[in-house]
């Protein structure tokens, strides 16, 4: 095996040297440049631009604007990678059933009580990060992962039994995640459907009025812009991510007794 290691080390070193050379020779442009790529400038100028609505996402935050509007397709399929991964995990562990009474006392009383106090605070922080995604840094995935880690933390601090007893079963998480995903899907084709119904031109992932299509999502809520579809995307994505990650972790952290029950139950080979 020594030869294999040497070969690997040499090829890895070659890749590294090549990359270093490209960086040093300015293949990626000057290092720490003063000017901006023109495309980036277009995004920055257009992310919130009420004077040129057809190119704008009407979001104060450029990253969220790109993530959910200019490159909404990427993000949609990114969500579906997460979806496929969770489907894959439940496929690998299929046949499991969460059972109560296997035991587990969780951590000490002090940690439990502290986590109880933290619970609403982290939840509201996550929701706030998600729903202000078009105004301040953050967005659906960030908020959703806040909530997901909270659920992971709960299942570790209080034990799985406790969480499942309080109604956080995999069935419910699956339902919640489906609501989120279908919400994302519905938001992405909402204006297209409206356009088809009204017989006018419209695009998939359309947000506000574009060239050749006058349809638009509501742009203001009270005294702040909503970024059209962005607030809906953020909301549903947060739901889908939180429920999905929690579901995957729940399945992964099944106790051995539960998993062994699911294994070897005579699935057909070949």
């Amino acid at each position: 095996m020594r030869i294999r290691e040497v070969v690997i080390a040499v090829s890895v070193a070659l890749v590294v040297l090549l990359l270093a050379y490209v960086i040093e020779a300015g293949g990626l442009g000057p290092i720490a440049p003063r000017e901006l790529r023109e495309l980036a400038a277009s995004y920055l100028v257009n992310a919130y631009n009420p004077w040129n609505v057809t190119q704008s996402a009407l979001s104060l935050e450029a990253v969220t604007a790109i993530v959910w509007d200019y490159r909404g397709l990427d993000t949609f399929f990114e969500t579906s990678v997460l979806f496929a991964s969770i489907v894959g995990v439940s496929l690998v562990f299929r046949g499991y059933r969460e059972r109560l009474g296997i035991g587990g006392r969780g951590l000490s009383e002090i940690v439990k009580t502290s986590t109880r106090v933290l619970l609403p605070l982290i939840l509201i922080a996550g929701v706030s990060v998600a729903l202000h995604g078009h105004l301040t840094p953050g967005g659906g995935f960030q908020g959703g992962s806040f909530i997901a880690v909270l659920l992971v933390l709960m299942s570790i601090v209080f034990s799985l039994d406790f969480v499942v007893e309080r109604g956080l079963t995999s069935g419910r998480l699956l339902a919640l995640r489906s609501v989120g995903l279908i919400g994302v899907l519905a938001t992405s084709v909402a204006l297209l459907a409206a356009g088809l119904a009204l017989g006018v031109e419209a695009y998939i992932f359309q947000n506000v009025a574009r060239e050749g299509s006058e349809l638009s999502m509501p742009q203001w809520l009270l005294d702040r812009p909503t970024g059209g579809t962005l607030i809906f995307f953020n909301m549903f994505e947060a739901l889908a991510v939180a429920a999905g990650l929690a579901l995957a972790f729940l399945v992964l952290s099944l106790r051995e007794e539960e998993v062994r029950e699911a294994l070897g139950v005579g699935e057909w080979y070949e």
Binding site: I110, K112, S114, L121, I124, S128
Partner: protein, 168 residues
Amino acid sequence: MGRLLGYLAVFAMTYAFYVVFTGAISVFSLAIGALMSAVVSVVVKPLVIPGELRASDLARLAYLVAYYFYYMAVAEVRAHAKIAKTVLSRRMEISPAIVEVPYYVKTSYGMTLIAGSITNTPGTVVVQVDTERRLFFVHWLFATTFEPGKAREAISVDFERFARRIFG
């Protein structure tokens, strides 16, 4: 009534945290926050406040603010000065020991407040808690006594006075 009060308390805590956290000055933020805090409080209330709540319980929470100032201004300063002096001295004079410290509050929130206060002052850390015999096992860096009663005098008696007023 008691249940509703519980929801209200959770809502108030959540919403207050939200307003401070977002520094909300727009109607949009305040409205969304109110809505979402309501949803959150409905979801988590059974976990945060399992039982019922009386109006007088809420009034006692005002002591929490007073306690915060006392704690930050007095207890922490004293403990920090001591640990800084020890760590930066040439030969560190420490006498580590794990001592029993009894407590007499009844609720788990009161217990956690005391334990948290003990742990958060450098020099004492709660290693283990026995909720049946109502004992903390405290790792004490500058142990002067191994006797439970005296250790309580030295470590937690001030915290407990406040904790009993706040959480009973």
